[in-house]
């Protein structure tokens, strides 16, 4: 099945990201004691600071990681499908790695569809897409409490137009990191 294949790949990607994590974070905290003193006293303690929910409370490492994620935060879908395609497994894995690394980080999964068909039914399809991404994130160690989902159905298109090019842009889940 394609789904199990996808999960296996994603778990692998997550594993790789997790391995690199300590190397990046450990040396950074002592090197910037003045900046982080107010929010954390140890390397891993930076996450406690993040509970305040403001970007200012984030470590430089987390801010950097977050900025990197924002460049790639959309998963596109085929018509009438909620399956995560191979090319987007990395996108999901990167977000999963970040969320697992920073348990106080939050993500909002916004599910969307193209404009074809009935509006409330499309709300259901958008939700199904958001749930697929949610499950993929959870399989990669993200906590349920870190994730919220919302489905906009066809109500918030990314692209105007009634052609396949626009439809393809609109069938998507946006992973919005809430700092």
């Amino acid at each position: 099945m394609r789904w199990t294949h996808a999960v296996a790949l994603a778990v692998l990607a997550f594993g790789l990201a997790a391995c690199q994590k300590p190397k990046q974070v450990q040396p950074e905290t002592p090197s910037t004691p003045a900046e982080t003193a107010g929010t954390a006293t140890t390397g891993l303690g930076t996450e406690a600071g993040a509970t305040t929910g403001t970007a200012g409370a984030m470590s430089a490492a987390q801010q950097q990681a977050l900025a990197a994620l924002q460049a790639k935060n959309i998963v596109y879908f085929d018509y009438d499908s909620s399956e995560i395609k191979g090319e987007y497994i990395e996108v999901v894995a990167a977000h999963a790695a970040y969320l697992a690394r920073y348990p106080n980080a939050r993500v909002r999964l916004e599910g969307h569809t193209d404009e074809r068909g009935s509006r409330e039914y499309n709300i259901g399809l958008g939700e199904r897409r958001a749930q697929t991404v949610r499950k993929a994130l959870m399989l990669q160690g993200v906590q349920d409490a870190q994730i919220t989902t919302v489905s906009y159905g066809e109500e918030r298109p990314a692209a105007e137009g009634s052609d396949e090019a626009a439809y393809a842009q609109n069938r998507r889940v946006q992973l919005v990191q809430v700092p």
């Binding site: 404009e115 074809r116 068909g117 009935s118 509006r119 409330e120 039914y121 709300i123 259901g124 399809l125 939700e127 199904r128 958001a130 749930q131 949610r134 919220t148 989902t149 919302v150 489905s151 906009y152 109500e155 918030r156 298109p157 990314a158 692209a159 105007e160 137009g161 009634s162």
Partner: protein, 446 residues
């Protein structure tokens, strides 16, 4: 009453070439600062009945209270009548005794309406008379009392009476429509919930938001609208009282809160809620806030609609793979029954006022179109020929369905008679308009 059954009328459903004539008689003086819908006559209807509605005496022509203009526009909007152009009316009788029927026969009018507006102690008296042009026979005559502000409503009332006299179906011109309009380009869009007269006149903004508004639903008494708003960055269902603007958030549970549908007694709302991402139908008691789960299926269950007696709920589900229409008991959550089998997609069931059929969205040869589904015979009858027609809503007399379609790149509204023979389009000058819902009849006439 039920016009759907008169398919026996064997007049050919041949639509003439595009007349491309735009009747913009309604476009002046909108009371609210919002784009007015207007009737676009894009298709000539060959078997529409020609009728002369002569400008009424005692009135300047062309204003919003032009009684004959409003009557003619209403009759035109029904698709069943083709009012004569005013410029062809050489004679302008204002009483029945002044009509020279041979003149109107030459103009090929089948019927003629004349009338006058006269000052009275109580305000204004509006008298109208309807005749058969061929026989000269008087068919209807009545005097209604109103005032300057009530002239339009009186004209709609007269159109209702004429329509009923000539078709046997009560008119629905004195009703209203609610719809959603959207301005701006994504992602910066402005959503408005609007209520206007059934002919699109007098749009009034009920609520507006930079986040989506959707799924308006009239309460059975016509006093409240339920709708979905994403203003809190998540969906919630609101009920708003139109007279006062007071509104109340009735459901803002985690996940989806959508697709509100009023029970026939107005006491409950059927809703779509999601628990763990799974959409199911629930019933919310508005007074007690008590919630009853109706469906439990891992598929998408949504778009509930009550049966006329309130005992069952129609809904859309893709439990069998594709979206189809089902029925379930409104109390026991038992006896889920699949209704539609024709076509690979059938959704958004809306009940006809007589309770005998559903208006639905169906995937017809690759296009989303409006159809009726007869609950007894299980026949599915496609009514429209657009590419993306959606959101059907019956007129309270059951004679027509208003729906959303695409006109070029924009969403517009359109009407089709319940037998599919007559189509008319209501378009907006700006923005997208969508999700039209036709109000019930007003409570008792005052």
């Amino acid at each position: 009453m039920s016009c759907k059954r008169c398919g026996a009328e064997s007049l050919a459903r041949t639509l003439g070439g595009a007349l491309s004539l735009i009747v913009a008689m309604l476009c002046c003086m909108a009371p609210a600062a919002h784009a007015q819908l207007r009737l676009d006559i894009t298709q000539g209807v060959r078997d529409a009945v020609p009728i002369a509605v002569v400008p009424f005496g005692g009135q300047a022509e062309g204003g919003p209270g032009d009684v004959a203009g409003v009557i003619a526009s209403d009759l035109q909007l029904s698709g069943r009548f083709k009012p004569l152009e005013r410029r062809d009316m050489v004679m302008r009788p204002i009483t029945g005794s002044a009509i020279r029927f041979e003149d109107w026969r030459l103009l090929r009018a089948d019927f003629i309406v004349v009338g006058r507006v006269e000052p009275e102690a109580a305000g204004l008296g509006v008298t109208f008379e309807l005749f058969n042009v061929q026989t000269g026979q008087p068919l209807l005559s009545q005097k209604l009392v109103t005032n300057e502000r009530g002239l339009r409503a009186t004209a709609h009332r007269i159109a209702d009476l004429i329509f009923e006299r000539l078709t046997g179906i009560p008119g629905a011109f004195s009703t209203r429509i609610a719809y959603v309009s959207v301005d701006g380009r994504p992602p910066a869009q402005r959503y408005r919930l609007v209520v206007a007269d059934a002919d699109g006149y007098g749009p009034r903004i009920i609520t507006e938001s930079s986040e989506p508004l959707m799924s308006p639903a009239w309460s059975p008494d016509g006093q409240n609208l339920a709708y979905v708003s994403f203003e809190g960055k998540a969906s919630a269902v609101y009920v708003q009282r139109l007279a006062t603007g007071d509104r109340r958030r009735v459901s803002a549970r985690r996940g989806i809160n959508g697709a509100p549908a009023w029970s026939p007694d107005g006491q409950k709302l059927a809703l779509t809620l999601s628990r763990d991402g799974n959409l199911d139908i629930y019933v919310l008691d508005l007074a007690s806030q008590g919630l009853t789960r109706i469906t439990s299926d891992p598929a998408i269950d949504t778009e509930p609609e009550w049966s006329k007696d309130g005992s069952s709920i129609y809904f859309t589900s893709d439990r069998a793979g594709s979206a189809q229409v089902y029925r379930v008991s409104a109390t026991s959550a038992q006896d889920v029954q699949r209704l539609t089998f024709t076509n690979g997609y059938n959704a958004r069931p809306r009940l006809a006022p007589d309770g005998q059929s559903l208006g639905i969205v169906t995937l017809d040869r690759g296009a989303y179109r409006i159809a009726t589904f007869d609950l007894k015979t299980r026949n599915l009858h496609v009514l429209t020929d657009g590419q993306q027609d959606e959101a059907p809503s019956f007129a309270p007399n059951g004679a027509a369905i208003i729906y959303a379609t695409r006109g070029g790149s924009r969403g517009t509204l359109a009407m089709v008679s319940a037998d599919g023979r007559f189509q008319q389009r209501l378009s907006s000058d700006t923005g997208d308009v969508r999700e039209p819902v036709w109000s019930p009849y007003p409570a008792a006439p005052r």
